[in-house]
Symmetry: C2
Subunit: 340 residues, 2 copies
Amino acid sequence: MAQLIIDSSHFKHNLDLISSHLGSIDKLALVLKDNAYGHGIKEIAKLARDYGIKSVFVKNEMEALMIQDEFEHITALYGSISPTSPTNIYQTIHSIQMLKSISPQRGIELKFNVGMNRNGLEIKQIQQAIQLILERKLKLVGVFSHNGYGDDGGDEMQKQHQTSQEIKEQITYLASKLGFELPRFHFLSSSGALRQEKIEEDLVRIGIASYGYLCAPIPIASKLKPIASLWAHQISKRTLEKEIKIGYSGAGVMPRDHVISTYDLGYGDGLLRLNEHHGRLTCAQGEEILPRMSMDCFSCLSDQEKICVFDNAWKWAEIFGTTPYDILVKLSPSIPRSII
Amino acid sequence: MAQLIIDSSHFKHNLDLISSHLGSIDKLALVLKDNAYGHGIKEIAKLARDYGIKSVFVKNEMEALMIQDEFEHITALYGSISPTSPTNIYQTIHSIQMLKSISPQRGIELKFNVGMNRNGLEIKQIQQAIQLILERKLKLVGVFSHNGYGDDGGDEMQKQHQTSQEIKEQITYLASKLGFELPRFHFLSSSGALRQEKIEEDLVRIGIASYGYLCAPIPIASKLKPIASLWAHQISKRTLEKEIKIGYSGAGVMPRDHVISTYDLGYGDGLLRLNEHHGRLTCAQGEEILPRMSMDCFSCLSDQEKICVFDNAWKWAEIFGTTPYDILVKLSPSIPRSII
């Protein structure tokens, strides 16, 4: 049976690198959303808790409940939280409407739009938001934004970071004027945080870098180690001659006389579907995968009983014109995860 | 919260069309593998059972156990079945080795390679396989193959079908000579079965056609109705002017002054990740989706609180150069499914 193996020493290596850059572990919050970017939320949560992480960010209430006992602070980035859920689960506020309807028992984090123009409140809504929070006696735990240019850097990143700083200043001013407790502030995620020399905020939200990847061309990127390797098991094998066709519509063609095996992962398990129009794709040790990928298996020039499909998702990301995030996050939750 | 709505009247319409083509419901076996091609295995299993389906095919033991009480015959196409699992779950045999190790208590189906050169035994291994089955007193429930040219038709499809017929003849001959009960035979799946005028075998395995799709250019394809529509809910909205940038790296650009909303589905939920190099993609009613898609949301020129992302996966398949199967099967199992 296929499996995803998580190397805990690589995970620790990445967290050491990141917290050393931050100057302390206290500012390091982890992003465990979307099944920990496909790595397995329960497995990664345990490793993170053991490392000393206190604050995490997940996709929604369902994910928060899966790890409710592991962390002091769990923020669901999307959706609402039911009244019966534990109080260490916070809800993200994306609109004034949400502030009007949320229960005063639930901790909240305000999300602000600083230029991605995607989710969150606008800076001009700060006063209205704070007024509602005070009137309704809501528990303001945090204030955050997301910088859409972390991977790119440059003026646009600085501009969005500047807007975040303005939000912090305005809320700090209002807190002192109106007498409410300052929330925690966090504006940067992996690329932005690792570009910044000094982190002024209380936290940074580290997702993909902790899993060993970074799309920004900065020195630390090459020091991170991918923590996951994907393994598949042989279903069937046969020796075929050069030019024999395989798979649907005979789209795969044997490049030479060789043993060809099928392995138990396919596009139904979340792999992107290789076809004859993509470039040449190989497994971790260079074993060629022949198109077209099937829903439950792929064909590969190999005789191994167990094959490492990848131990670094960049190769797959490049073949499919996407990011390592996209390759990893799609791995089906039904593939067993194990930690070594 | 996003949801996948399954239209039970469309499902019934498709099964009516297919069983009418087959001449009877008795030959109709359904393929529920990979979470019923992403539609939700438990939900589709209930509809199929109510329709009168007796035999189904699933990916593996885990899926078989999820629907163990619904059908008389459940075949796991891959992996092994543990001794404690119910006896209505059968294991597919892909190699002589598997025949040597399987428990005699477990019903088996022999899979043969008829030219896809992917999984299964070779025709030349029939005698050896039957000998082992008799020696080990194994329960031979079925014999099948998979035609890799069902979508294409033509000589190659006929050739693979002819090889399947030879397998049937050889096993029928051996059954009468050696005195064992004839297994059920099934060689065709959606496209092949719906191309064929008369079905000689005991069963056909219908997957994608029951969900409303067919990649073969045959008349019945246009009569099938997609059974699933994917819906997303608004997270945030704002009115932006023409040329304002949105999303990561500002890759999305407002084509005109308009309200833009984010909706709660992204590439972490199994959607393929739209970027600025793909063609123009729209939701079901023509609302434009702007690149780049995020992990948990997409941005769309719409003010609706709830949007139909698609009610037919062909549009997405075409934009991403893939099949509707691939679009549907990747939909995360955590998206709630509901039947109307």
